[in-house]
């Protein structure tokens, strides 16, 4: 069982293929089937983690699975090492919770929504686990198409425009990736990432630079850093609740994993440093961070504000990863976990609270929301404070390590910048928290806030709140017990930087 980690990709794939048939037969068992499949995937992920635990501690985990029983020279290979196992576990746990949330939240067109959701899960797992660069391209394109369809799930005008823009950027990014793959193949003669690594030093200097710039551009387009960030605010804010959490929290982290794998395990990072590109990445990351936080400050629409905040944090993660020190990678990976948990919680709670404002995103309509559902609003407050960086929430510890990494590498001004931006984010989150408790204003507005949520249909409200509470608990656990996962992350960081 422990070598069959291909089942991590196969289970969601087969589920997505079987769902239309189940819908033709009997629609009532659909929810049970989805839940069964999601729990199966979660169980499989946990079993694989536990059965390889000793290997993880000694940082010797490297299991290769050759598809079709061809050697990795001739065919495609999947690899399970520390980096891919880490992201795979993150994916499995967070996607399970989002599927549970969607079961309660999504009311229309459910059949196709779950098909696309499971295809997205399979594609993300495939992108994280593969060791072949063309296979990575196919999975990235699958991620792009399914996430575009999920963005346009709300059938209104803004979603259509947002998904068109997102797909256009995504296709162009994929095209640059494609050119890079073929430049690599025609000069090294192989498509396996391990074999490319061993041949990479010997090729022409011009081609080395060109390939790195092509892949860097492609990843920056997909992650949404400056100057390709124009799709980000619209796409993340016009999609429905769970889809926004999925895109903003989980999808961007998969591309961070691809960034790590490409630039540390295929091209050795020292080459980047020699050519000055590493400095460029740090500046682009920090500049995106500045843009993200400042533009979030001026936003009235809550979901757009959260999307710009994502831009800010992802820019920070990319900048600190580009430092190429063990503490830099530790800070980046830690912030990956904490940002995933906190941003998902934020988007899920906002998705729920928007039921009360009848879908309006404006600040003025949030009056008195806190009194409608105290528990969910407390989760919102905790997640928001975590994003700012207040102990004992996980955001504080990860920001601490990031600032520490910047100071250790001599970028004191960057550390100061990050603390300043954290202060700015405090302001724009505080606005919403204060508004929520604004009971006096609530009685004077003309449009009344709804008394009960739309979701109080039998079990749906409870399922949604359950998912939110589990996320909040995970977030608090991650904050209070951060030393549990600090050591494994340090092992991964040391492994990557060699």
């Amino acid at each position: 069982m422990e070598n069959n980690f291909i089942l991590l990709i196969l289970i969601p794939l087969v589920t997505a293929f079987l769902l239309p048939i189940i819908e033709l037969v009997n629609t009532k068992i659909r929810k049970a089937f989805i839940l069964l499949s999601a729990s199966g995937e979660l169980l499989l992920g946990i079993i694989i983690f536990i059965s390889n635990y000793n290997l993880i501690k000694t940082s010797e985990l490297y299991i290769e699975y050759n598809l079709g029983a061809w050697s990795s020279f001739l065919g495609i290979a999947l690899v399970l090492d520390n980096l891919s196992l880490f992201f795979s576990i993150l994916l499995v746990i967070s996607m399970f919770l989002i599927i549970v949330y969607s079961i309660g939240f999504i009311g229309h067109q459910e059949g196709k929504y779950y098909v696309l959701l499971f295809l997205l899960l399979a594609a993300m797992q495939g992108a994280v686990l593969t060791n072949d660069i063309f296979n990575l391209y196919v999975f990235i394109e699958l991620i792009t198409i399914t996430s575009t369809a999920l963005i346009s799930f709300n059938r209104n005008r803004e979603s259509a425009e947002a998904s068109f823009k997102y797909l256009l950027y995504g296709v162009i990014g994929g095209l640059f990736f494609f050119i890079g793959i073929f430049l690599l193949y025609y000069t090294t003669g192989s498509l396996n990432m391990g074999l490319i690594f061993s041949e990479y030093q010997d090729i022409n200097q011009n081609i080395q630079i060109a390939v790195m710039i092509l892949f860097l551009t492609s990843i920056f387009i997909k992650v949404g850093l400056f100057p390709f960030h124009y799709w980000l605010p619209k796409a993340h804010s016009t999609s429905t609740g769970p889809v926004s959490a999925l895109l903003s929290g989980i999808l961007l982290k998969v591309f961070i994993c691809i960034f790590l794998r490409l630039f540390w395990q295929v091209f050795s990072y020292e080459l980047l440093v020699d050519m000055g590109l590493a400095e460029l990445i740090i500046y682009i990351g920090l500049f995106s961070s500045i843009i993200g936080h400042l533009l979030a400050f001026r936003e009235d629409d809550i979901k757009r504000m959260l999307a710009f905040s994502t831009l800010g944090h992802i820019g920070m993660i990319v900048a600190v990863l580009a430092l190429n020190t063990a503490s830099g990678l530790l800070g980046g990976l830690m912030h990956t976990i904490s940002h995933l948990l906190m941003k998902s919680t934020l988007f899920l709670t906002v998705g729920y609270l928007l039921q009360y404002t009848e879908g309006s995103h404006h600040l003025a309509d949030f009056n008195g929301i806190a009194y409608k559902n105290k528990g969910i609003f407390v989760s919102f407050i905790l997640a928001a404070l975590g994003m700012v960086g207040i102990p004992p929430l996980p955001g504080f510890f990860s920001k601490w390590y990031i600032v520490d990494a910047f100071i250790q590498s001599g970028y004191n001004w960057a550390a100061l910048l990050i603390l300043l931006l954290g202060l700015i984010s405090l302001f724009y989150y505080l606005r919403y928290i204060i508004r929520g408790y604004n009971q006096v204003e609530a009685e004077r507005i003309v449009k009344p806030v709804k008394e009960t949520s739309v979701l109080s249909v039998f079990y749906r409200e409870r399922v949604v709140t359950l998912a939110v509470y589990v996320f909040t608990t995970l977030m608090l656990t991650a904050g209070l017990f951060f030393w549990w996962y600090k050591k494994p992350l340090l092992i991964i960081a040391n492994l990557i930087t060699g």
Binding site: V138, T144, I145, N156, E161, A162, F164, V171
Partner: protein, 111 residues
């Protein structure tokens, strides 16, 4: 050498079409031109004297064209066609809501 120039010309033409056009259909056509340029280049780099990679008994290896890029291009073409179909569908959806597919009038795409 000549195919490099053709590839770069077509690729930059497609990129120019994407960056400067106002009409969304022309932008999609520009994406298609870029993709076709890349597929053309990949096959053209490989163009030596070679027979089809369908082997009769006992052909020499030197005379056979490289089958690996051809298989990868097949995958690329299929993915390109799927994304073009999807882009056109989104265009139909935008047209339904806005009655216009010119970027100047679609405020939503400029923000």
């Amino acid at each position: 050498m000549i195919y490099n120039i053709v590839f770069i010309l077509l690729f930059l033409l497609g990129l120019y079409a994407i960056l400067t056009n106002r009409n969304l259909v022309k932008i999609i056509i520009g994406v298609n031109i870029m993709e076709s340029a890349v597929f053309f280049w990949v096959i053209a780099v490989n163009s030596r004297e070679g027979v089809l990679p369908i082997l009769e008994k006992g052909s020499e290896i030197i005379q056979v064209a490289n089958p690996l890029p051809q298989a990868l291009i097949l995958t690329g073409v299929v993915i390109g066609a799927s994304t073009t179909a999807f882009l056109l569908t989104l265009l139909i959806e935008i047209d339904k809501f806005a009655n216009n597919i010119n970027l100047d009038f679609l405020k939503g795409l400029r923000d």
